[in-house]
């Protein structure tokens, strides 16, 4: 099951990459369009695949649990299998068309590799979140619902609330608050990471000293990547933790 779907996923990205390049005729523009895809679609697919895989293979998992195998290696193995194949599909599916189109001769290569790295991180993070949700919910429908809701919250609603709070409190200095708020959402975090590359000239238009330090130096890049790593490690750790205690 796993391999079939990851082929579909791979073909989808392959097609997307070719279509984007065909329509845009230009690498740098394709990279911008691709960013929207990566930020919205990659987490969604990671979430759905994660939940689906867990529920589908539940019976097999229970069978495995009867064997003398460490619980954490069963669950982590499953997680890494799904997340790994999704990441591979993403990287290869998008990488092949761009490489064929002359990525290595273009100066968009750094923007593009950053996109793939954030895409890989987002896959790892959202698959882990999905596994967490599925492990905590016996009911399939409920688990699915929560997982999609989690995605919707992080992808859209969070930014809406974020924007509202920035406007409501506009009289106060907000730059550290807004940077902190970005850190608590992996989607915003990856968006910021990409903004550092694509829109640095606009970001430096804001006068705040904290912004300037964050975006103007390498600090922003380092902190964002560290936070993304933390976002990946924490759900995986919780996954292993729950799996050890859970009754089946």
């Amino acid at each position: 099951m796993r391999s079939r779907w990851s082929y579909v996923y791979f073909l989808f990205y392959l097609l997307l990459g070719f279509v984007l390049l065909f329509l845009n005729n230009e690498l740098s523009k394709a990279v911008i369009t691709l960013m929207n895809v990566i930020i919205v679609l990659v987490p969604l697919i990671g979430t759905i695949f994660g939940v689906m895989y867990y529920y589908n293979s539940k019976e097999f998992t229970e069978l495995l649990l009867a064997q003398p195998i460490k619980r954490s290696s069963i669950f982590l193995g499953q997680y890494l299998g799904v997340a790994g194949s999704l990441t591979m599909s993403l990287v290869l599916g998008l990488g092949i068309p761009f490489v064929l189109y002359g990525l290595f001769q273009s100066n968009a290569i750094w923007d593009f590799s950053l996109l793939l790295i954030t895409g890989a991180f987002l896959t790892l993070i959202f698959t882990a979140l999905a596994f967490n949700i599925a492990l905590s919910n016996e009911n399939k429908i409920k688990g699915f619902g929560y997982a999609v809701l989690a995605w919707l919250f992080l992808a859209v609603i969070y930014d809406g609330l974020f924007l509202m709070s920035l406007i409501v409190f506009e009289e106060y200095p907000l730059d550290s608050l807004s940077l902190a708020a970005t850190m608590f959402n992996p989607i915003d975090l990856s968006r910021t990471l990409i903004l550092l590359k694509l829109d640095i000239s606009a970001l430096l238009g804001y006068t705040g000293a904290i912004f300037k330090q964050f975006f103007g130096t390498g600090l922003g890049l380092v902190i964002s990547i560290c936070m993304l790593l933390l976002w990946t490690v924490l759900p995986i750790w919780r996954l292993g933790h729950i799996a050890k205690r859970k009754d089946f």
Binding site: I39, V156, I167, S178, S201, L204
Partner: protein
Amino acid sequence: MPALLLVHNMRAETISVCSSCTVTSIKRAVMLSADYDTILVKKGTYREFNIQINKPLTIKGEDYPIIDGEDQGEIITILSDNVTIEGLFIINVGTSYTADYAAIRVVESENFLIQNVVLEKLFFGIYLEKAKNGRVYHNKIIGDAVDEYNSGNGIQLWYSNNIVVERNIVQHVRDGIYLEFSDNITIENNISSDNLRYGLHFMFSNDDVYKDNTFENNGAGVAVMFSKRIKMLGNVFKKNWGAASFGVLLKEINDAEIIGNTFEENTVGISIEGSNRINYLRNNFINNGWAIKVRGACYTNSFVNNNFMYNSFDLAYNSKLNDNIFEQNYWSNYTGYDLDKNGEGDVPYRPVKLFSYIVNRTPETIILLRSLFMDIIDFSEKVSPVFTPDELVDAKPLMHKFK
């Protein structure tokens, strides 16, 4: 020495200056020379300052002789018409808080030519004061300015008319090229970069032409203020980053032509304030934070056949009133279609996004740039404009880049 004075006749003479010649200083050579003589300065180091040239002379350096002012004050002052200065390497101009010491100053003179001169460690570089009909050609000015208050400008024109400034390189000074009250000036093919404040700064200067210059990585870009009938053609404005930085600032500029320029990777491409009747044609705006920021009181400007590509925001506008024309531009953010295949989109393009309005109000929201939520509300604003001026549209957006 008397021999030298004897041969002094109507014919133009050449006086050589070098450490082993009879004349060892430029000052002395100037004193000995007659009108229209040539002073040939041989390779070497000359520790001199306050060289006053009060008769028509040609001073020519051979293999770039060094004139070291030892931070004492002004180095060469031209007080006569028809003076040519060529091929010198001038360093260590004195810094003063009361006098604007320059490496070369031209005072109330005509028909001068300053070319192939290299200036380093300077306060002011070439300072033209009430000068006319001159040419500043192919000079290299490299300063070491750190603070604005104790640094000078590379090339400064003050009450000067009919002057050509061409192929100069100006770096690391306060303002690369500065003009005040100077009319009919041509500034062409210069490269002004890494300056502390402006690459080019001019005020109250009318009928000037700026052509094919490059302004890169200056503290605040290029500022153009209180001037009429200027032309900016084919210039490149690049990498002016910062909160108060822009490619070009236009303030109280009327009847100007801005044609074929490239604005690349600036925080703001053009910032416009109180400027009327300006034609913006065939310019390229690439990868800027804001391609154009209109701050108000700008009327009857027209933007035609420009390319707006990959800017974070194409246009910011802070009033609801619009009297400016946007027509037949190419916008990379345009998503419409062209069914009748005439190369123009069938749906109008709205360059002002709701998000740019929000960022104007609460600057911190810039961090939500390109988020899905912002795209959604931008889309709803596009469908029915509430906050953005609804007649501000490009009714005929181009489907392909204008070439």
